[in-house]
Subunit: 286 residues, 2 copies
Amino acid sequence: MKITSQVILGDSQEKLKDLKENSIDLIFTSPPYADRRNHTYGGINPDKYVDWFLPITEELLRVLKPTGTFILNIKEKAENGERHTYVLELILEMRKQGWLWTEEFIWHKKNSYPGKWPNRFRDAWERLLQFNKDKKFNMYQEEVMVPVGDWAKARLKNLSETDKARDNSKVGSGFGKKIANWIEREKVYPTNVVHLATECNNKNHSAAFPDELPEWFIKLFTREGDTVLDPFMGSGTTLFVAEKLKRNSVGIDIISEYYEMVLKKINSTNYYLFEKKGKYASSKAK
Amino acid sequence: MKITSQVILGDSQEKLKDLKENSIDLIFTSPPYADRRNHTYGGINPDKYVDWFLPITEELLRVLKPTGTFILNIKEKAENGERHTYVLELILEMRKQGWLWTEEFIWHKKNSYPGKWPNRFRDAWERLLQFNKDKKFNMYQEEVMVPVGDWAKARLKNLSETDKARDNSKVGSGFGKKIANWIEREKVYPTNVVHLATECNNKNHSAAFPDELPEWFIKLFTREGDTVLDPFMGSGTTLFVAEKLKRNSVGIDIISEYYEMVLKKINSTNYYLFEKKGKYASSKAK
DNA sequence: GTTCCGCATGAATCGATAG
DNA sequence: ACTATCGATTCATGCGGAA
């Protein structure tokens, strides 16, 4: 199967208009958060965040297949002692555009940013909002089932005294019994809570999320040969994972530095599928 | 220290008016979910949930001390393939009332209820919305510290000379203090993700949450002798935990069956603090 | 070749200080 | 009074060099 990776330089709001409608199976993205990444993206004012984002979601709604899914990784910042409400407002406004707010997954970041404040603990989770065009959408649950062996192995490895105390679990005593239950099964369906640590040691490029995050959703909502879109490509994690999993991919970013970097890396690892086409660097399969 | 537990039968919207303003240190509650438990609470239509709840939050704002905290355990139901938006709308409307939306904790339910749906995984988390009247509120973070992660055991067992030297050179006169911090540090501050298993041992009544959930927040936001309110008492978990932790408590419920049950149980375990007063069953300490 | 340890570094947040 | 900048605080993780 031929797989294509397309990298586009420019503003998503404009460049998305060049994409064909009903052509994308999964949109997975992590847009620049309000007031974050100021040095690269210029920083979006929290109070204007919804207005800034809505024209883009309008286009995303157009390019997504009716059976497709949009996963939005986002988290509101704390400002002036309060959580900002732009994410809530965004959800409500997107529904007016026609999006269905199907589910909210939680990404539990085990290694959250350190710090201490008198009125707040460390923020260790982010939202993964699932939107759909239609009540009927493709979902391949079996693809992300957790093999019991690996799960139990990893779990048991971490099952130290401190873990027990930390979890303060009242059912700790019943843990052995549960393990026994799980061992008999081959695989287990996951829940809507995703446990992953952030990668924080990449020198050249700091990815917003670890590979496992897009990987999980790409497996869950697409099959080989499907097409994945990331309108805020950044360091290109979504594209590289899509490529690895034999999905077509389209990435857009306004920062030429990211564009060049992803282009080069996609090219070097997968050159035989890649060719330049016009002003876009892209690879079209037959 | 004398502790009182007060149990009130009736509609929260009315009965809350009998409570004195600025008298409560912590409100912890899990209101009846929209269209859930309709056999007991009559079922609140999801579309009217906000309208139903706002008069109550108005009263809660009145009775809460300026230094107090309101923790609302809630989760929107999935209806017609979509997550309902009444929680989002509630947050926005409560801010208009004057509430500050300080934080959103996640309760990760480690053993969520099993089940399988074609378009959705098991729901393993709930929101714990924190609201405050004022930017300055009481928070006793040390009360809920957790054991440090395993990595520290291996890493910190041998605190070397280089560490001390580095610290000395950096701080100069203040040497020793920081080292002590690290050597004696066996506990760290938690994050805004709370890991607890759901309890499933209550036969007669299904408690909405395990003891550990109110316990965590009562320890975090109150001291002994403070007063905790649960306007949707249910089986009375919040009250029993408050009593155990030597906090005064007030519970309201419209279901006489719950009222009688909590009354009896509070009475049996703590009768020496308890006496009936007029139409309310209550215990007033001097 | 294992295991161990030093080290840098994160989508953070607040309060104080400065313009 | 309001915005902009800065220092202080803190913990899990993986890489790379050392034992």
